[in-house]
């Protein structure tokens, strides 16, 4: 018998194993169907093109507006992915099955959040180079990449929680952006300002307050989501 799991490191605890199992399930399902990533990607490309026509992004306007255009794209594509990832759990009663598993329920949250984060980072990893090429602007800036990751973490943390809420309502996917955007304003403002700070090569002292907000937002909302997820899936 072939032992395929030998090389994979064994997670330390039962909790970590549950988190990894859920993430792994999502990733391998996506690897086979590719429906979530492909729609997120095509959607992002379309948004970038619409920005070109809507804002007439000439060379001058580009520098100031790039960070904003990117984050609008990420935010919209993000809601698409978040909706889909929770809808598949709800549709065939998968969520109920997961809830029956004898693990702490926050493990489900972290599992879903990590897989959502992976999807979002993949989309960003493709959108950034494409944007660079299409608009002839260099986005390979370590600072910008760090901000993108920090912003995505906060956005996905609160987004995963709200997706778990909205999927259980009558209006479902329509509701998610309405619930998510007003709460995600701090993360979007801070991410846009920090990104454009790095792109315009501003002094670090002007960027660091925004990084602080991003880190605080990430920590607060990861902690709160961890604490309240139980109430969201409780039956």
């Amino acid at each position: 018998m072939l032992k395929t799991n030998v090389t994979r490191e064994k997670p330390a605890s039962n909790y970590m194993r549950a988190v990894m199992a859920i993430t792994w399930k999502d990733l391998s399902a996506e690897l086979r169907s590719r429906e979530l990533l492909s729609s997120m990607l095509v959607f992002s490309m379309l948004v970038i093109m619409i920005f070109y026509f809507a804002l007439e992004l000439d060379v001058k306007a580009r520098n100031g507006i790039t960070a904003g255009a990117l984050w609008v794209t990420f935010a919209f594509a993000g809601t698409l992915g978040l909706n889909r990832s929770m809808a598949v759990e709800k549709d065939r009663g998968c969520l109920d099955g997961l809830l029956l598993a004898p693990v702490d329920r926050s493990a489900i949250f972290f599992g879903k959040a990590i897989s959502n984060l992976v999807f979002m980072v993949i989309v960003e990893a493709i959108v950034l180079p494409v944007y660079s090429v299409m608009y002839n602007i260099n986005l390979f800036n370590p600072g910008l990449l760090m901000v993108t990751l920090l912003g995505s973490v906060g956005y996905i943390a609160v987004g995963t929680l709200l997706a778990a809420i909205s999927v259980q309502t009558r209006t479902r996917d329509v509701l998610l952006p309405i619930l998510l955007f007003p709460l995600a304003i701090p993360v979007l403002v801070a991410a846009v300002k920090a990104s454009s700070g790095f792109l315009l090569a501003l002094d670090m002292s002007e960027i660091s307050p925004w990084l602080n907000i991003l880190v605080v937002y990430d920590l607060v909302f990861i902690a709160v989501s961890f604490m309240v997820f139980d109430y969201v899936v409780e039956e």
Binding site: V158, L179, P182, I185, A190
Partner: protein, 229 residues
């Protein structure tokens, strides 16, 4: 259906007369502001309504935590009452602020931190009401509502901080003549404090009424269930 308790009846009359008195004070007792003129009188009600909105916002967040701990439907009714009052009063605050801002700042709207935060808070409340509308099961509606108000209670202060930072890094062109630089005389301070006190009583009265309304709605719901069974 129980009739209004005696204290509530007293509060009804008291709030009406206090608001009327605050209005008279703002119009006739408070002196004319030199720079801004008559329109400055809207400021007294503006501050007072913002205060009530703030009370509602804090009450909603606190009540949300209590609900999540106790799972007692009573707290859900109180939470909705707080959110609705806060929604209405912040709405009034924004409108009054606009009336004042037009002559004072030369524009109906500026992206000033307090203004913007109030507007985003209104969006949070509207999202909250839409969320509740989409859920039939009362227990789940209460649970999700509480979670969402709790998240809002955490995110809105961060929004305020981030927008304030947004404005300080970029120079503020209009809005420097805001309330910070407004020198107030004794009678102006008195009028402002009186308005705040008057609207606090209004808040208590409305809060009470709205909670009663929520209880009645619950009773009606239960009666309907009984009939249909």
């Amino acid at each position: 259906m129980s009739p209004q308790p005696k204290i509530l009846k007293v509060l009804n009359v008291l709030s009406a007369s206090l608001v009327l008195a605050a209005f008279v004070m703002a119009m006739f007792y408070a002196p004319l502001e030199k720079v801004m003129g008559e329109v400055q009188r809207v400021f007294y009600f503006h501050v007072a309504t913002a205060w009530v909105g703030m009370l509602g916002f804090i009450a909603a967040a606190v009540v949300a935590i209590i609900y999540l701990r106790t799972h007692d439907m009573k707290w859900d009714i109180i939470g909705v009452a707080a959110v609705e009052i806060s929604l209405i009063f912040f709405g009034i605050t924004i409108v009054l602020g606009s009336i004042w801002a037009r002559p004072a700042w030369g524009t109906w709207w500026t992206w000033e931190p307090r203004l913007t935060t109030a507007a985003i808070l209104e969006m949070v409340y509207l999202a909250y009401l839409l969320l509740r509308q989409g859920i039939e099961d009362p227990e789940r509606r209460a649970r999700f509502g509480a979670v969402y108000t709790l998240l809002g209670g955490l995110s809105v202060p961060l929004t305020f901080v981030s927008i304030r930072l947004f404005r300080t890094i970029h120079p503020v062109i209009i809005g420097n003549g805001g309330s910070e630089t407004m020198a107030m005389t004794g009678s102006m301070v008195a009028t402002m404090l009186f308005s705040i006190a008057a609207f606090s009583v209004v808040f208590i009265t409305l809060f009470w009424h709205r909670i009663r309304l929520g209880q009645f709605a619950n009773q009606v719901e239960n009666l309907k269930m009984k009939v249909s069974m």
